[in-house]
């Protein structure tokens, strides 16, 4: 499937999840829909590993795994409903889920261990980890960043979903992250700063070879991306969409389907 079509399918599933009885982390799932589509349907190969550090984007991950055929599409409709294994944060045992995540600040360290293991095995696979930007306020992320830079882990790619919003407002008003690329660079990483909804730019940025350095892709995104009434709104962080809003959102997303 081409990445733009995959992104539409992922957004559709996110919206359906948010239309369920418990709602969903819709804003931060939509903001990374294009990133997931590019990584899973363009950049990553069979030997590569994906780790979702921002575990609250589980609806986006489940949707991706369903498009990849690792989950049944019907199962997505069970999201957060009693009896379902599809919790609001991914748990172990779900096909395609490398580690349970959602407690923020764990994914980069787990990715480093996986990348070191790949290196020790003599393998050529890469490890892709998707981080949230608010998550970067956790100290353990920088413990990990420091170590990955020092070790020159050139089989590690961290993509930051830089939507600039957290639950209570702007990341820059809480504990500011800019200059974000500069911070990773200062820790010994190669960095690329791109429009996180430009799938071509993302594809080029995430696959580029980093010479003896890990790669951080700062993907500038819009929270709630693809659904105008959610875009750039803090309130999109966690929302339950009424049926009428689900219809409006699906229409908006469908308009982006490649013809």
């Amino acid at each position: 499937m081409d990445t733009d079509t995959a992104a539409v399918e992922i957004r559709r599933s996110i919206i359906r999840a948010a239309g369920g009885p418990k709602g969903a982390h819709v804003g931060g799932s939509l903001s990374c829909a294009d990133i997931l589509a590019v990584l899973h349907f363009d950049v990553m190969g069979e030997r590569d590993t994906f780790i979702l550090s921002k575990g609250h984007a589980a609806p986006a991950l489940y949707a991706t795994l369903a498009v990849r055929g690792l989950l049944e599409a019907e199962e997505l409709d069970t999201y957060a409903r009693p009896g379902s294994r599809l919790f609001g944060h991914p748990r172990q045992g779900i096909p395609g889920v490398a580690f349970p995540t959602g407690s923020l600040g764990h994914g980069l360290g787990l990715a480093i261990g996986t990348a070191l293991g790949e290196r020790l095995d003599g393998g050529t696979g890469r490890v892709y980890v998707l981080l949230g930007d608010g998550e970067l306020q956790e100290g353990s992320v920088w413990e990990a960043a420091m170590y990955a830079g020092t070790r020159g882990l050139d089989n590690l790619v961290a993509v930051v979903d830089r939507n600039s919003l957290q639950i209570t407002g702007s990341t820059e008003e809480r504990a500011g992250l800019e200059p974000l690329a500069g911070r990773f660079a200062a820790f010994g990483w190669e960095t690329r700063d791109v429009d996180g909804h430009d799938t071509c730019a993302l594809s080029a940025a995430a696959r580029g070879p980093a010479q003896r350095r890990p790669l951080a892709v700062i993907a500038r995104t819009v929270k709630g991306s693809g659904v105008p009434f959610l875009e750039g709104k803090t309130s999109s962080h966690y929302a339950t969409l009424r049926p009428e809003l689900v219809r409006r959102a699906l229409t908006a997303v469908e308009a982006r389907r490649p013809t």
Binding site: F99, I112, G113, L116, E143, Y147
Partner: protein, 331 residues
């Protein structure tokens, strides 16, 4: 069976040195073994010199070390992480819970400076709650050797088990309780001294030594005291604990930890469900680390002493007499 307490002035095996040697031997036999270090010193010239590719010093970053170890273990490696007990548990508790135990990964957490063993370094370096943390995580093998001589056998035995292990070591040498060739069976409590009146269940270097001393002294007063050494806190040898409950008047537990969440709680949970009887806990109480003391002296000031054990034994026998009539009279 009677084990006489060793002379507590006699030098024992250094537990950290024993661990470094044991890990090297393990790594020679199992190429999956990796050593992860958080800049603790000592491993870079031993494991790091022998296996430079398998020695990863992540710096002073315990949370990241546990996440990295989990990633490696998920790929089939057997990482051993090395840090102080307090940092492995209360500092990096969530990484331990979610990344290591949550994924049931075979990460060995080698936790040094346990209890009050870092006496002179001060209260920030004491670990008196670590066992409560790892017991609460449930799916972790928890091993507490009673001396440096047990460290090697404990590490090798734990390596054969699946899933994560917590190996709790002291900072410095304490008297060797048992010779290294005495046999070490993970999950089995060792009867160091037979007895019929009360049972002292002890865990860790000085608690076991003090239990032997107390039992030795009590024997002169006509009290027959069993001493059971627990080196595997999880899984606990419940059969040995229940046998003690059924055949002696009461139980005293001794540990280098706060009373909450450690050996005393584990034993209490076992006996209260199956065979309730008087039980007193000798554990670290009160304020610690006010002035610099020697390790044993600091424990004694915190109410972990042979004298405290003797008092507790007398108390459980006295309490147990209410229901049973064949126990000796003390004093």
């Amino acid at each position: 069976m009677t084990t006489t307490p060793p002379d507590h002035a006699a030098p024992g095996t250094d537990p950290r040195a024993a661990y470094r040697d044991a890990l090297l031997r393990l790594a020679e036999h199992d190429e999956r073994v990796l050593c992860l270090d958080s800049d603790t010193g000592g491993l870079e010239n031993t494991f790091g010199a022998r296996f430079p590719d398998r020695y990863l010093n992540v710096g002073i970053a315990e949370a990241n070390m546990l996440s990295v170890a989990s990633g490696l273990a998920a790929r089939g490696y057997r990482p051993y992480v090395h840090t102080m007990a307090t940092f492995a548990t209360t500092r990096a508790a969530e990484q331990l819970k979610l990344d290591v135990v949550g994924n049931a990964l075979p990460v060995g957490v080698v936790a040094t400076h346990s209890g009050l063993s870092a006496t002179h370094l001060g209260t920030t370096h004491y670990a008196l709650e670590d066992l409560a943390v790892v017991r609460a995580l449930a799916e972790m093998t928890v091993v507490v050797p009673a001396s440096g001589a047990e460290v090697g056998p404990a590490l090798h035995a734990a390596h054969r088990r699946p899933g994560p292990t917590y190996l709790r070591l002291g900072r410095s040498a304490t008297p060797d309780i048992r010779p290294e060739d005495a046999g070490f069976e993970l999950g089995s409590a060792a009867t160091l001294r037979s007895g019929t009146d009360a049972t002292v269940i002890a865990m860790g270097p000085y608690p076991v030594l003090m239990a032997l001393e107390a039992a030795h002294a009590l024997a002169w007063e006509g009290v027959s005291c069993r001493v059971l050494q627990v080196h595997t806190l999880v899984p606990l040898d419940t059969a040995a604990v229940l046998a003690a409950a059924r055949t002696t008047a009461g139980i005293v537990t001794v540990e280098e930890h706060r009373p909450q969440g450690g050996l005393g709680d584990a034993v209490a949970a076992t006996v209260s469900a199956e065979h309730p009887l008087p039980h007193r806990r000798v554990a670290v109480t009160g304020e610690v680390g006010v002035v610099v003391q020697e390790h044993r002296e600091a424990l004694e000031a915190a109410d972990v002493s042979a004298a405290a054990i003797r008092t507790a034994v007398a108390h459980v026998i006295e309490t147990g007499r209410g229901n049973r009539h064949d126990w000796p009279t003390l004093g």
